[in-house]
């Protein structure tokens, strides 16, 4: 262990998936032909005024409540000024003085709480496309709604950083406010990092902007940590300056952005085109009522059901998976269903994207019924696993793949016969069992299973063998 503590805080921008943009009625959609989702308002033409989208307010409050934030009684909007072609009005409408959510936290598996300083709402800038000579502006993204979630510097390891982001994604996906796709930019992180020795004041922090992948975040944090420690150890502590850096994945290192931005004065001031907005407690209460169960709660229920922690994490990662699983569970067996989903079904849904969508042809009802057959020893796991891929492909119910024979298992008299055969064929196993090696019985059960191609009910078989050798 190094003698230096790592101190990390996150500022995470999350694109909200409301139907319309934050101040006008243009569609809020990713992609589209450039400059097709815009109007005089989101282009910032002279004389236009913003109309705050109430859905954005609701979504932000949902996020805040899910992260244990306080919702203040009033909020207001501010202007942040800078000249850049991605910002038509030359100011970004955001919140500085009175953000919509205050003082929350996100709990890690260890029980540690990562404190949320605040969440504010703001508009996104337009997208710039550079080529050798020119800059092109696509205003489709201009004025789409964002929330920025700002933590305290409570994260102390790369693992905690990953867990924080993954948990944050799961929560925001569950409450349905964002798809949190880092690769598409609907979730972007600014990570600030400093190091210090235990008991000493915080070190100078550097900020790595616009991170769009968890593994890059991990690498960047590790790189910065080493860089800071090396500089301190080699007596060049003063070389650590408060600055914005960029992570370069090709070289796996960070470099100073050396942009004037650091020295920039954004001249925040209250946006006079907005009234101070009252967030009355009834409004907030009503939003609270619409909140679904959050991943942490579902996860602890799954663990109580006997699902292991890793499987539970995977089942609650995406809202669609978790919804499907919870629904299937009402028709079937929770443990067996978990193996179906994380096994055959996840193998079938190759990409994360497909897993997130979880668009499968098997109804939750049908998969639940299948799990019950297995649970009640009508079929074996082997049979279930072999028909799930077919069901996924063709969309037929499980009954379409199970013969009467499958479902009825073998005739018991035939199994009785096979049991006798097995006992006769394996006298050593019988002896071992009688001398106390209980596991020895499995060999005979295996014999019967093989002979029936797995269609025998293992519980019945075992009981029958016991009966016969006693």
């Amino acid at each position: 262990m190094s003698k230096y503590n790592l101190v990390v805080g996150f500022e995470t921008h999350v694109e909200l998936n409301t139907k319309t943009k934050i101040f006008c009625s243009c569609a809020n959609e990713f992609g589209g032909e450039p400059n097709t989702h815009c109007c005089p308002i989101c282009l910032g033409e002279p004389g236009t005024l913003p109309q705050l989208n109430k859905e954005v307010v609701r979504y932000a409050i949902k996020a805040g409540l899910s992260l244990n934030c306080k919702i203040p009684q009033i909020m207001s909007m501010d202007r942040k000024h800078y000249f850049y072609p991605d910002l038509g009005k030359s100011y970004q409408t955001t919140q500085s003085a009175r953000p919509i959510c205050l003082e929350g936290f996100l709990t890690l598996d260890s029980g540690k709480k990562i404190r949320i300083n605040h969440i504010h709402i703001e508009e996104d800038a337009s997208k710039l496309i550079h080529d050798a000579q020119n800059i092109y502006i696509d205003n489709n993204r201009g004025s789409t709604p964002l929330i920025e979630i700002v933590t305290e510097p409570d994260i102390a390891s790369v693992e905690e950083a990953r867990e924080y982001i993954e948990k944050l994604q799961a929560i925001l996906r569950h409450i349905g406010v964002s798809d949190c796709k880092m690769q598409e930019g609907s979730m972007r992180c600014d990570v600030n990092i400093s190091v210090n020795k235990e008991g000493e004041p915080l070190g100078t922090r550097t900020e790595i902007k616009n991170m769009n992948s968890i593994s890059f975040i991990e690498k960047a944090i590790s790189y910065e940590y080493d860089r800071h420690v090396d500089l301190i150890e080699s007596g060049q502590k003063n070389q650590i300056i408060q600055e914005t850096r960029r992570y370069d994945e090709k070289t796996d290192s960070t470099e100073s952005m050396r942009e004037k931005e650091d020295a920039q004065d954004y001249r925040y001031f209250p946006d006079p085109d907005f009234l101070v907005l009252r967030l009355d407690s009834k409004f907030v209460e009503n939003i609270k009522k619409t909140l679904p169960k959050l991943p942490a709660e579902i996860k602890s229920e799954l663990i109580q059901d006997g699902i292991d922690e890793k499987a539970a994490d995977l089942l609650v990662k995406y809202k669609n998976v978790s919804d499907y699983y919870l629904s299937a569970k009402t028709f079937g067996d929770s443990k067996i269903l978990a193996t179906y989903i994380l096994g055959e079904i996840f193998r079938f849904l190759e990409t994360e994207e497909e897993k997130e969508q979880f668009n499968i042809k098997i109804s939750a009802n049908d998969l639940g019924a299948l799990s019950l057959l297995q649970k009640n020893n009508k079929i074996t796991a082997h049979i279930a696993y072999s028909i799930i891929p077919k069901m996924l492909k063709d969309g037929n119910p499980h009954t379409a793949y199970l013969t009467k024979e499958d479902l009825e298992g073998f005739d018991n008299t035939e199994i009785d016969k096979l049991c006798q055969e097995g006992i006769a064929a394996m006298p050593k196993a019988v002896e071992d069992y009688k001398s106390g090696k209980e596991k020895a019985l499995k060999a005979i059960v295996g014999y019967v299973m093989r002979a029936t191609k797995g269609k025998a009910d293992p519980v019945y078989t075992e009981n029958k063998i016991l009966e016969l050798i006693r």
């Binding site: 004389g47 236009t48 109309q51 705050l52 000249f83 072609p85 038509g88 006079p272």
Partner: protein
């Protein structure tokens, strides 16, 4: 008074005259008189006549409103798809509006006929109307004098009867001061009573669109058409209906005497006498903030101006530099430098200065707090004693075009009586009430509590009856 709204509406609806005839007459008059005043910067006969034709059809169907077929003008900062909207700036000289302002839409829905867009100080920055890209405007009563500003073209267009009414905008007296200088009525409504959607922004928390007309009655009609909530302006709301029986009029005599000239004081005396003729009680009032209105205005309004002007980069719309540039910043810098006048640049720099570094706390937030204190003081100490405040609109009649204000403080004086209404969001109306010794119009200002627009207009209508002002020719 000839050619006022009500009398023309009656003639139109009795079909004694058609809107096309009336509009043609006005267009001719503009051609003849605009050389004198430069009140209009854009006209479009085709548009006006087609709107007039439409109005005549509505009248023929028997479903007109009072405004149907009546020709009017709009300040050039009010967005109209049918005619250019440039705020009289080189920056927007070739700008093509892409949407209509809410007020214009409302007027069109009432069958109004747009004659043209009126001259103004560039981006409404000024009190003279000498400061626009399309040349100076001149006072119809004496072309060596200013119309006032920034809505000077609107005031002049009404005063010389080249339209029946107009809409101006007022962030710091910009409707009322030129109304007073040109001998017409100018009304700045309660902040939020009229939608600002489609008004090229100057100082957002100060400004309102308001009617300018030949008498208070006309003003009232126009106000009732343009006011109201608007989905495109979240600061706009529906003001309640208000009346005030036996109103009490507050007068800050010391303040007026300290600031106004002899001629203005004489008209002011007449206005006070009118109170007693009307049976209105008068009381003395005093605000401890009289000396700081202008300072608060400069700090807060200019900060908003600096911010609002940021969008003019030459990238998405407006003037783009033709000269060589190194990078985006250089392009923006050159476009802005070439297109803005010094007045505009000064205000942007001053405003940004107020928002930069420690000035933010020292000036901006301090002024913001004082603005709140001022509001409180007005309601605790002034409006606790009276319902309306009477003062001259300006300390003097229209000044000469070649008059050089000695300082920024002195030029601010022209709006000293008008400013509290903008700082506090109060409704305020200028009524022509007399003339100076050299026959220039002098207006009186009545200011009411927030939301008491209707009550204010009724009281103003009564005052108007005792006005000593006669239309000059």
């Amino acid at each position: 008074m000839p050619n006022n709204l009500i009398s023309l509406a009656t003639q139109l609806q009795r079909k004694e005259i058609s809107s096309v005839e009336l509009t043609t007459e006005y267009l001719k008059k503009i051609k003849k008189l605009n050389k004198k005043t430069n009140a209009y910067v854009f006209t479009n006969e085709e548009v006006s006549l087609s709107q007039a034709k439409k109005a005549d059809q509505i009248i023929a169907k028997g479903a007109p409103s009072v405004l149907t077929g009546i020709p009017m003008s709009l300040k050039d900062s009010i967005m109209t798809i049918d005619m250019p909207t440039t705020a009289c700036s080189k920056m927007l000289a070739k700008y093509i509006p892409t949407y209509n302002s809410t007020v214009y839409t409302k007027l069109l829905n009432n069958g109004a006929v747009l004659l043209g867009k009126t001259n103004m100080d560039e981006f409404s920055m000024g009190s003279s109307c000498l400061n626009g890209f399309f040349g100076e405007a001149s006072n119809p009563y004496d072309t060596n004098r200013v119309t006032g500003g920034s809505s000077g073209g609107s005031a002049a267009s009404i005063a010389q009867d080249t339209c029946v009414y107009s809409l101006g905008t007022d962030a710091g007296g910009s409707i009322r001061q030129p109304a007073s200088y040109c001998g017409i009525v100018g009304f700045k409504p309660t902040y939020g009573a009229v939608s600002r959607n489609g008004l090229i922004a100057l100082a957002s928390s100060f400004e309102q669109i308001g009617p300018m007309a030949k008498n208070v009655g006309d003003t009232k009609i126009i106000f009732n058409v343009i006011k109201g909530k608007d989905e495109f302006d979240q600061t706009a709301f529906e003001i309640p209906r208000t009346t005030r029986q036996n109103p009490i009029i507050g007068i800050d005599e010391d303040h007026v005497e300290k600031t106004a000239d002899k001629d203005t004081l004489a008209v002011f005396e007449k206005a006070i006498k009118a109170c007693s003729k009307l049976g209105y009680k008068t009381v003395k009032i005093k605000s401890k903030y009289n000396d700081i209105y202008a300072k608060l205005y400069y700090i807060l309004a200019y900060a908003e101006i600096a911010s609002n002007m940021g969008r003019y980069t030459g990238i998405d719309f407006g003037y783009s530099t033709k000269s060589k540039y190194i990078d985006t910043n250089d392009f923006i810098k050159k476009s802005r430098s070439e297109a803005f006048s010094n007045e505009v640049k000064t205000r942007i720099m001053f405003g940004n200065h107020m928002l930069t570094g420690e000035n933010m706390e020292k000036f901006y937030y301090k002024a913001l707090k004082m603005r709140n204190d001022l509001v409180e003081d007005y309601y605790l100490n002034v409006f606790s004693k009276c319902d309306f405040i009477l003062s001259p609109t300006t300390p003097t009649a229209a000044f000469r075009k070649d008059y050089k204000h000695e300082s920024i403080q002195e030029s601010a004086l022209t709006n000293i009586f008008a400013l509290p209404a903008n700082l506090i969001g109060l409704p305020s109306i200028s009524i022509p009430f007399g003339v100076s010794s050299d026959n220039m119009p002098i207006g009186m200002l009545l200011t009411g509590k927030r939301n008491f627009d209707n009550a204010l207009l009724s009281v103003a209508e009564n005052f108007e009856k005792h006005s000593g002002y006669k239309v000059l020719n």
